[in-house]
């Protein structure tokens, strides 16, 4: 069959076209399905090869003349001597162009302020600054450190973020009400306005008229710290309505209405790569946790981001973003690199701050830690009665006030977490007014919690179950004193009317455990024996009985969606969170009654010191800052009326009022990417406030738990009842406490009291000046009177320098009773 020539040509052309497109398609598909991990691994492998060669070549080259150049050659020489792994240092030379092109050169900085310890230089073009420590000669930059910079390890987005002094999170209310967007001053082409040097530093404003933001920043130098502050005056978080109208008139498009939701100021201050693995980030997780600089981490998105003073339930209620970590009690974080260390304390606006820390390779190449200030938060606005349907959005009004972080640069002593904790202790003493404790004798006070009563579900109705009446409490105190526990701090919980599961209308003390008279007698009895008694008042946080004139719908703490926040799961008693202002009125009224009982003080906690929530109840409105003020005021009044206050799990703002702290954390939140737990909080507080941790008789590993207490200098606490522990089964709230019968524990308590008294009795007013690990599972804590306590967690004894520590035991070295 003969095909006309045209057809033949057409046929061949289509064939060729089909084949080429097919091959292109299959090639692209094959390229896509190649696993990204493998690609990256291949990339880094080849990079390493490249760097090896570069190092060999560039080790000879050196001079570039600038300060940065000399520091690079210094690094290169170090790289050559210290071995192959640090050869990466030299790559800075070849990729130096990228680093130098992104970040300001050292010679673009000029002196802004100077004092006895520090010099502050500023670059007016970018807004970055440089701090030189005159005492040690070290430098700190407000942007990532150059050592180990690898251009390929950082995405372009992150490069921009790292260059920018401010990181901005914002919401576009006219586009999507529930989504956060991120930007920085570079992307917004901010102009630096009103730059001026002050006598302590400098001030400038980042002006972004395109999006309507204006962020005034002030950096000042004082003593041995630098304070970076976002000022409230001149702060513009979005366009005014006239500007929006002007925009719409000009472009005929609706303005996006962008509003600032969060800010990070100089987030990469002190950020270093993991090239030199001698460094860590300190995060306030639990008592304090370290994230070591590790070069080889599996690439994943791990980072630490927690709200200071815990979540604000007024926003996170009904929000599926509840954190699994422990709440942050201290607004601090720290960075150590080599022999430099800094401690950052969030000063103004701590209650609106979050601590963010990320190890290298999780977002970019750097280990960095910073404070993120929240101006607007996401919350769930329900749209139906059952509160199940609704939408997420951000609040319209922003949080007000200055925001500042103080970076203390450590010098002398040890540039590690012990040094950071000592510096924090100094801050507490100077700013919060904490003083060295003055113990009357050399005997420690053992905290003992007595559970009064609870209610049990009964056949027809609930019954009141007394677990420790006041006369039984006298027996317990008597017995414990007789077997050797010389001094105790007894906290009576569940004394209120109705038992521990009844909240609201606390007075009079329930007759089932002895009434007011019984309590008075018990307190007198305890005083005679030399102990002090406080009553648990953390239950004022909730109400579920409607007493005290409480109406849940009227006086409960409400979130932004006008939902009253209630607690209570399946097996729990349900209770409503009380509005802080309402709680204030109730507690103030009851303070006099506590005084009449003769109580030595109150034990606070929960909504008084531990939980900090904003309140959007129209009658009792309070911002988070105001709620903090209310709590502090209540603490103060309690101290004025009764003399002393204890707190459980309290945030740092309450520390200046308390005489003792309970429930101090001793373990971190088990994140996989963090490393060891360190007793930062304990080191900072020892000698200022006596503290204890969770109850020893409900600990998972009793023996190890006691050793931990010894290592951290805390006094073990116990929770006891007179009734047998089996009686707790079936109670409404106490079924979680495994073993509380005092007879089961009295001998053990006496024994431990003796041991802890001998070890810690004479250092009650001493500060901890050293803490380190002597070997795997062996830790040493040193006090400022020369006493050292060595704790051995291993199953085999440890032989130290002239002393031996038995397995799972501790030993006191060098110094005892003076």
């Amino acid at each position: 069959m003969q095909m006309p020539a045209r057809w033949k040509r057409l046929f061949v052309l289509t064939l060729i076209a089909a084949m080429t497109s097919a091959s292109i398609v299959t090639y692209t598909i094959a390229a896509e399905t190649k696993k990204p991990g493998q690609a990256e691994a291949a990339k880094t492998d080849s990079e390493q090869e490249a760097k090896q060669e570069d190092h060999a070549v560039n080790a000879q080259e050196s001079e570039t003349g600038t300060k940065a150049g000399t520091s690079q050659t210094k690094d290169a020489k170090e790289g050559a001597t210290t071995g192959s792994r640090t050869a990466k240092g030299a790559n800075g030379q070849t990729a130096k162009n990228s680093y130098r092109s992104l970040f300001p050169d050292d010679d673009s900085f000029r002196l802004a302020s100077e004092n006895a310890n520090l010099r502050l230089y500023v670059d007016p073009k970018t807004g970055h600054f440089l701090v030189k420590d005159k005492r040690s000669g070290r430098e700190w930059r407000s942007f990532p450190d150059a050592y180990g910079w690898n251009d390929k390890d950082n995405t372009n987005t992150w490069k921009k973020h790292m260059q920018s002094p401010v990181f901005i999170k914002y919401v576009e209310f006219n586009v999507r009400k529930d989504q956060i967007k991120e930007t920085n001053v570079l992307d917004q082409k901010a102009a630096i306005e009103r730059f001026e040097t002050t006598d302590t530093g400098f001030r400038l404003t980042f002006d972004m008229p395109g999006i309507g933001f204006a962020i005034p920043v002030e950096v000042s130098l004082k003593d041995d710290y630098v304070e970076t502050k976002i000022l409230e005056e001149g702060f513009k978080d979005g366009k005014t309505s006239e500007e929006m109208a002007a925009y719409e008139a000009k472009t005929k498009k609706k303005d996006k209405n962008a509003r600032i939701a969060g800010l990070r100021l100089y987030p990469f201050l002190g950020a270093h790569t993991s090239d030199r693995e001698d460094g860590y980030l300190l995060i306030p997780d639990g008592p304090g946790t370290l994230i070591q600089f590790r070069k080889d981490r599996p690439p994943n998105n791990n980072f630490y981001f927690e709200a200071v003073y815990g979540e604000d339930y007024a926003f996170s209620n009904n929000n599926p973003s509840l954190s699994i970590r422990q709440p942050v009690r201290m607004p601090v974080f720290g960075i150590k690199t080599g022999d430099q260390a800094l401690l950052a304390v969030i000063h103004d606006g701590a209650e609106y701050a979050n601590v963010l820390a990320a190890p290298s390779k999780s977002m970019n190449q750097y280990n960095w830690a910073t404070a993120e200030f929240t101006y607007r938060q996401r919350f769930f606005q329900p749209t139906d009665k059952r509160k199940q349907n609704g939408f997420q959005t951000f609040n319209k009004d922003r949080a007000q006030g200055d925001r500042s972080v103080r970076y203390y640069f450590l010098n002398g002593g040890s540039p590690d977490y012990v040094g950071m904790a000592s510096r924090y202790r100094q801050v507490l003493m100077e700013e919060e007014g904490l003083k060295r404790v003055s113990p009357d004798e050399d005997a420690i006070r053992l905290p003992v919690y007595l559970l009064g009563a609870d209610s049990k579900k009964g056949f027809l109705w609930d019954s009141y179950e007394a677990l420790t009446t006041t006369s039984q409490a006298e027996e317990i105190v008597n017995e414990l004193t007789a077997i050797g526990v010389k001094k105790m701090s007894v906290t009576y919980a569940g004394w209120q009317k109705g038992g521990i599961s009844d909240f609201g209308g606390h007075f009079p003390v329930d007759n089932g455990i002895g009434g007011n008279e019984g309590m008075r007698q018990f307190i007198e009895f305890a005083h005679v024996k030399g102990h002090d008694v406080t009553l648990d008042a953390s239950s004022y946080t909730f109400n579920n009985t409607g007493r005290d004139g409480f109406r849940s719908s009227r006086d409960g703490l409400q979130d932004l969606g006008s939902v009253v926040i209630k607690y209570g799961g399946r097996n729990e008693t349900s209770r409503t969170l009380v509005s802080p202002r309402f709680m204030q009125k109730v507690l103030e009224k009851d303070l006099g009654k506590f005084y009449l009982l003769g109580a030595d003080g109150l034990t606070l906690g929960e909504g008084l010191g531990a939980l900090l929530n904003s309140d959007f109840n129209e009658r009792h409105k309070a911002t988070r800052e105001e709620a903090k003020g209310i709590q502090q005021q209540l603490f103060d009044e309690a101290v004025q009326t009764l003399g002393s206050v204890r707190a459980e799990g309290a945030n740092a703002y309450a520390w200046k009022y308390v005489d003792a702290l309970d429930g101090l954390p001793i373990e971190n939140s088990f994140d996989l990417f963090v490393d060891e737990t360190v007793p930062f909080m304990q080191i900072a507080l020892h000698g200022l406030i006596p503290y204890s941790s969770a109850f020893a008789n409900t600990a998972d590993n009793y023996a190890t738990y006691l050793l931990k207490n010894m290592e951290y200098g805390s006094i073990p606490s116990f929770m006891l009842t007179y009734a047998a522990s089996q009686d707790l089964i079936g109670t409404r709230s106490l079924y979680n406490y495994y073993s509380t019968h005092y007879k089961d524990w009295s001998e053990e308590i006496a024994k431990q009291y003796g041991r802890f008294n001998e070890a810690l009795g004479d250092v009650q007013d001493r500060m901890i000046v050293g803490h380190r690990s002597l070997a795997a599972g062996v830790y040493e804590t040193a006090y400022d009177n020369g006493k050292r306590i060595v704790v051995n967690y291993n199953e085999s004894p440890y032989h130290g320098d002239g002393y031996e520590v038995k397995a799972q035991d501790f030993a006191v070295v060098h110094g005892g009773r003076s």
Partner: protein, 717 residues
Amino acid sequence: MEKRRGRRRIIHLLTFLGILVAAWSPGVAAAEPPYMTFSKDGYDRRIPSQAAYYPSTVVGDNIYKTMVQNGAERLEYSPLKRPQDLFIDDRDEIYIADTDNNRIVHLNRDGGFVREITAKGMKSPQGVFVTAGGTIYVADTGNKRILKISSNGELLAEYGRPKSRFIDESFHYEPTNLVVDARGFMYVISNGSYQGVVQLDPEGNFYGFYGTNMTEVSLMDIVRKLFYTEEQLSRQVRTLPSTIRNIHIDEQGFIYTVSATDKEQVKKLNIRGENQWKDKKFGIEPRFRNRSQAAEAQTTDSKQEVQKSGLTDITVDRNGNLVAIDKVSNAVTQYGPNGELLFFWTGPVTIGSPQLGISQSPVAVDTNSKNELFVLDDSQNLIHVLKPTEFGTLLHQATTLSQEGKYAESEPVWREVLKLNALYSPAYQGLAEAAYYKEDYKEALRLFKLSGDVGGYSDSFWQLRLQWFQRHFSALANTAFIAAILIWIFYRSKKKLRFIANGSKRFRGFLGKNRLLSQLRHAFTILRHPIDGFTDLRYGQKGSYLSAFILLSFVTLVLLAKEYYTSFTFMPVPSNERSSGFLLTGAVTWLTWVVCNYLIGSIRQGEARFKDVFVGSSYALFPIVILGLPLAAVSNIMTLSESSIYGFFETGMLVWCGCLFFWKIQSLQNYGVGETVGNILLTAFAMVIAWVLISIIAGLSSELQNFFYTIYQEVSM
């Protein structure tokens, strides 16, 4: 969103999520592992418990190989990649099948890198097993063969696809894991094989299929079989037995297999392949499954059905306790040597914050000589190490002693356990058995009740009763003898005691006068002559609303008393959980019955008025009053051996009530038997319809209310 001032708000309550449960308890949140540990008590309730295992450390995440390059030694970071199996040998050395890196990684007991084993062409090894002699068997999945490697790393043998007439061409052989017993026989799990475990002899020849699962036929399958045609059936997916997921061999040579079935999830097989644990149930409540957010992401894996258990691996520790890990719910369960549940723990998994001790994707588990648990995670590429806590160690010790029958020695250990956790009711079980063994039956009785063991309680009670009889036999016999004599005397001299007879007659006369009392007495008459009695209710004015209410209140009281006073043997519910809630449902049902019966009767030519139906139905409940209290009383002296008698009387009481209802309808409505039956069926139907209507109306009205509220909210926002 703030509301405008001055507007009346409608504020509602919301229950907060229970994660904050831990936050409220004083001092508990400070040092807890990131998961919650639970146990089950004798009542099958779940009880919280201290952690039995505590997360200790992570192993296998920091592997550096020494490489020689350009003459210089270099440490190269060599992380694991999707490892699928873990094995710990007798010397506590760890072997990991590092699947995507095509090697076996050998770590020492502290997790330090020793060597990597790669045989020629090893591809995606998914299983590893090391014998006591140090020979390493590798399931080389990618090459579909088993490799036998010596402890030095030399390849000794390789076994390919077994050939046998029992294996046909379509059999898909892909070995994923294996165990080797003391004789050298290999038990190989082949991916997707529904015939069971492939058993090979030491030379690699096919020996047989072992431990096959049974096909699980669901109700739907049976129905389909009945109704579908041949053609439709042939298009259905064949119902095949589930595949075996993983396998483990213990020191005694028992083989344990894990499958994704509903029954027999864990099998303990002897050498003949018989399951020793046929009746045991494994797996945890569905409530605890699918807790992790990761589970939603994993539903793309069609093999794992959401809701089915995801038991991925098991291991048996040196005490004989079995540990099973569940991938779908991220839970770890521990069973005692007899398959009873000891603990399980589960923790929330949040993407972005992996926690030590919670694995996101657990694929393998093993224990070492110190009973530490090693859980291999193939998405995090590391091993979580969990150490037993003091509580856990004590518990294992006590369980082992109890299992071995050393009751006397187990007692002090159980007491220690109770001291640490007084709420751990299985400990009471151990103590109770020890007390029973010591013949301290009173104590055993009390402890069995605490632990919820009905059988033990009944046995101890039996012993106590026997002892009581033995002690008091003489007294009882004397009393019975004297009573018999007295009755004989009484009957003999009835005439002389006429005044007693007169007195009782006058009493009865008095009763007859009072109308209410006579109506109440009529209840007894109904018991003896039901049909006439019910007719008399209406026509003889022998019943009224007042008497009906009194009877109903009696019934209520008796029911409450029965619920409360029935002995533990017959109502194995702890006394504080017996509630009066059942009364409400009973009352509502009864009332619905009365109303519906009257309505149905009136449309079907019945002659009863509402009053008659109401009063008659309350009188029909009278047997409960008569028999209820005596039953409750008698249950306190009976044991399980007499349960048939108790059951008889209890059922009899209910049947009697049922019959009375039948006769009531028959007589009051003046029906025949057939009409009565029809009336009853229609009444039942009417009750169902009534409740359906009520719930529909309730639901609709609440939706309507909701709708208006939403509109109001939207308008006002």
